[in-house]
């Protein structure tokens, strides 16, 4: 924009009005050409633009209801009639020359049909360009080679702006690219040196209303040679065949909408040309040309530009694919790293948590949160944990096919307004909703990440800046859009995770089957072993007894005593076998965990012990009521029974004291309670603190302290460990011992 126009007052266009205008039914054309509406087959002129006198020397009224045939030479007529059965694309433009009072005037004619009406548009040939294919080919040949060889999308865009400027001589040629919301951005520019750059500027979707976008998709090229020229109405205003205004959607001369004129005027533009760039049948962007004085472009050059636009459209897909290729390769390698790392972790979510950097890079996010079984772990710029928990609660119902994503979260979830600076964009990937395994990625508000395209406050160019500001308003609470390849990468990551998890589950299932089999074998083995050991043992026992009964007199006292020892040994052997069987069975029996009142439990253990302890002086105390825990009451009874009876057994004091209690909860492990059984017995030397828990490990000879099998503490340890607890002992030798063990105060998984 030139300096002279910097006082233009920008009025915000009434966009809704713009959108509602029926641009294609304007009933008028730009004055640099003539439009005929014709009725076939007679080519009767039923409507004509109100400028025939200036350009042809005939008044419109004189032409109406005449046949076009009267204006043309027989050769041209024959040519046109031939065209009518062909595809117009391949015949336009047709070269027509009309005899105006012995002055031959040459025209470019463009034919198309719309709603059953044949429309012929004529533009006077201003230069005597030699129109032939060779010239056209020369015009575009170099350009096409450049486009195709451009290594990147931005390179191609830069090339085409140069080529179009070379072909047309426009003061400024730009490439606009629309984003997913149809707002635009200037991504390439070629301009006169004295003009300010618009490169990198964004503008709101409303700058090019939907109506206009539709027409851009239909008409690949639009030329406005002079915004100050007066449009020419069609005569008559209604088409006599349809009784409606003529549909000018495909007319190259269609008049310009007042809103668009105002828009151009605000930018100081006098002439403009735009070429549509389509990708996948959608309007991807425009080649926009501006000129600061009137400018006409011949049909031929326009066609060349249009052709370049089409070539570029074809190249777009490949270039964008390429553009993303490096990025996609990077994403793939990140994915691969996860897939490699995950199976090595016990819980697949840990694999994600361990590598948050890559997780951020996977979708170019600024923040990430991993929710594994409801536990949150965050990295980068994220909302607070409590905000994330609330967000998860809100989003759970909205996840569709394991994914939810948006680039304008606050609009869907108003609560997010307060943390839009870090989380205007959100992707939620659900790995498992039942287990609350989610990954959330966050992107900040786009305003904070956008390339400003220069300092917006120093500029004197009002309009594009105004648009830019307007665009900024529209992108508040929005993040940069998520790319399809980023979404794809996430979905692929999920499939990989699910694959890994399923594989792990399969492995586990196989291992479990294997385990079940070996368990039942072991089960059987334990019983069979005990059975097979007991049978000969019983034989020895019985036969020793028979000997004592039948041959006592022969054996004498010494022999009998030896046989009695043999009998005692068999009984001891049976005790050992029973203990071993019991111990090997412990891990097999399902724990039936329930909330258990330990006061009742311990008291009933004491009652049972008291029955067998009648003759001994024992004082068993509970200094304060015991708490409730989650445990298997049968097994925990056995633990208390073992510990209390040991406290009594290994005690040589006349007044035996046993205390059963618990410690106050440790801060670092609030979910576990430490219980203790304390005695004033013989104590244990420190070097044996570990050994006493080994199976059949005894510290004393059998004939002392009512020798047991040495399995009691081993069994107690195993039971406590099956409850996810620990057991240990502290003791002052000769003064007494205290056995400690932990039990869960809450339900924990086994």
């Amino acid at each position: 924009m030139s300096q002279s126009e910097d006082r233009i007052i920008v009025q915000t266009v009434n966009l809704t009005a713009y959108d509602k205008e029926f641009l294609h039914l304007s009933g008028a054309i730009q004055p640099h050409g003539i439009l005929f509406a014709l009725k076939e087959p007679q080519l009767e002129i039923i409507q004509v633009s109100n400028n025939t006198f200036e350009l042809l020397g005939f008044h419109p009224q004189a032409l109406l209801n005449q046949s076009l045939k009267d204006l043309l030479t027989p050769t041209e007529l024959l040519f046109i009639e031939g065209c009518l059965v062909k595809d117009f694309e391949s015949v336009n433009p047709i070269k027509l020359s009309i005899d105006m009072s012995n002055n031959i005037k040459n025209f470019d004619g463009i034919l198309h049909r719309c709603n059953g009406v044949l429309i012929l548009e004529l533009e006077p040939k201003l230069t005597q360009e030699d129109r032939n294919f060779i010239r056209f080919y020369h015009l575009v040949k170099g350009a096409i080679a450049k486009l195709q060889n451009a290594p990147t999308m931005s390179g191609m865009c830069q090339d085409i702006t140069q080529e179009v400027q070379n072909l047309t001589g426009f003061d400024r040629v730009m490439i606009y690219q629309f984003d997913g919301k149809q707002a635009g951005k200037v991504i390439a520019e070629e301009k006169r040196e004295d003009l300010n750059s618009y490169l990198g500027l964004h503008y709101p979707a409303s700058d090019i209303p939907d109506q206009a976008k539709k027409l851009y998709t239909r008409n690949r090229l639009r030329l406005i040679p002079d915004i100050n020229s007066q449009p020419k109405e069609l005569v008559p205003a209604q088409n006599p065949i349809t009784n409606e205004p003529l549909d000018l959607s495909y007319a190259v001369l269609r008049s310009v909408s007042p809103c668009h004129l105002e828009y151009l005027r605000n930018m100081g533009v006098t002439a403009s040309m735009s070429i549509s760039l389509n990708k996948d049948k959608k309007l991807w962007g425009l080649i926009a040309c501006h000129h600061y004085s009137p400018k006409y472009v011949s049909y031929e050059v326009r066609t060349a530009c249009e052709f370049l636009g089409q070539v570029m459209s074809l190249e777009l897909a490949a270039k964008e694919e390429n553009e993303n290729l490096d990025y996609k390769i990077k994403l793939k390698s990140i994915q691969a790293q996860f897939i490699e790392a995950m199976p090595l972790t016990e819980n697949f979510m840990d694999g994600l948590v361990k590598d948050k950097d890559n997780l951020l890079q996977l979708v170019a996010a600024q923040g990430v949160a991993i929710c594994a079984n409801g536990d949150l772990s965050i990295a980068g710029e994220t909302p607070s944990k409590s905000d994330i928990y609330n967000l998860i609660e809100w989003v759970e119902a909205k996840i569709d096919n394991d994914i939810f994503y948006t680039d304008c979260l606050p609009r869907l979830y108003p609560t997010a307004e307060k943390f839009k600076d870090v989380a205007s964009g959100l992707i939620v990937l659900s790995i498992s909703q039942t287990q609350k395994n989610y990954v959330l990625w966050f992107r900040p508000e786009v305003i904070q990440t956008v390339n400003w395209g220069g300092d917006p406050y120093s500029s004197v160019e009002l309009s594009p800046r105004k648009s830019f500001e307007l665009w900024q308003e529209t992108v508040r609470s929005q993040s940069l859009p998520w790319k399809q390849c980023e979404i794809d990468a996430i979905i692929e990551l999920r499939s990989a995770i699910v694959g890994i998890v399923l594989r792990k589950a399969d492995e586990l299932a196989r291992i479990n089957i294997e385990l079940a089999r070996s368990n039942s074998e072991l089960d059987a083995f334990a019983y069979i072993a005990s059975h097979d050991l007991k049978e000969p043992l019983r034989g020895i026992h019985n036969y020793s007894n028979f000997l004592i009964e039948d041959y006592a007199d022969v054996l004498q006292a010494e022999g009998v005593s030896k046989l009695q020892t043999l009998v005692r040994l068999t009984q001891r052997m049976e005790d050992l076998i029973n203990s071993l069987l019991h111990f090997s069975r412990l891990g097999r029996v399902e724990l039936t965990l329930q909330k258990t009142d330990l006061n009742e439990l311990v008291n009933s253990v004491i009652d049972i012990l008291n029955i067998s302890l009648k003759e001994t002086e024992v004082d068993i105390r509970l200094p304060r009521p015991l708490p409730s825990v989650y445990c298997d009451p049968v097994q925990i009874s056995e633990v208390f029974s073992n510990l209390i009876s040991n406290a009594i057994k290994y005690n040589n004091k006349p007044n035996k004291l046993v205390e059963v209690g618990f410690l106050d909860t440790a801060l670092n492990k609030p979910e576990y309670i430490v219980f203790y059984v304390k005695d004033n017995g013989i104590g244990i030397k420190e070097k044996h603190f570990d050994a006493i828990f080994r199976i059949f490990k005894r510290l004393h000879p059998l004939n002392k302290y009512g020798g047991g099998t040495g399995a009691g503490l081993t069994i107690a340890k195993k039971i406590v460990e099956r409850h996810n607890g620990e057991i240990w002992v502290k003791s002052a030798y000769g003064e007494g011992s205290t056995f400690y063990f932990t039990l869960p105060s809450v339900r924990v998984s086994q």
Binding site: A524, I528, H531, R538, G539, N542
Partner: protein, 149 residues
Amino acid sequence: MTGSTQPLLLIEDSDEDFAAFERILRKASITNTIYRCVDGDEALDFLHHKGQYSNSKAPRPGIILLDLNLPGTDGREVLEQIKQDNELKMIPVVVFTTSSNPKDIEVCYRYGVNGYIIKPIDVKKLMRTIQVLIDYWFEAVILPNSVRG
């Protein structure tokens, strides 16, 4: 009339266990005829009058004492066959075994065993157990074929 005179079939592979059993019965002055089979196959032959028992008149026992872990056809299978046979199923079968495996106990009762006794090692306990067994089945209980019309 109780089954105190009916023969008793003991299916037991261990000679020592059998000897102890016999001795205890003798000491308890029990006079019932005792037949012994050393494995499952022999027991089934004895009951079905087959094999070595095809010509002899093997009497139908009033009660069967069955050890579970037998060579060849295993005690569980013997029990199953007895309890599936329309005639034999009436004979009370008491399992007399060393196996304390809960699975065995469950399986035997599922097949319809009439009692399950774990053999104790202690000889006094063993005597007491056998005494109770005999008192119950031959004194207290009425056996099916002991009432003659």
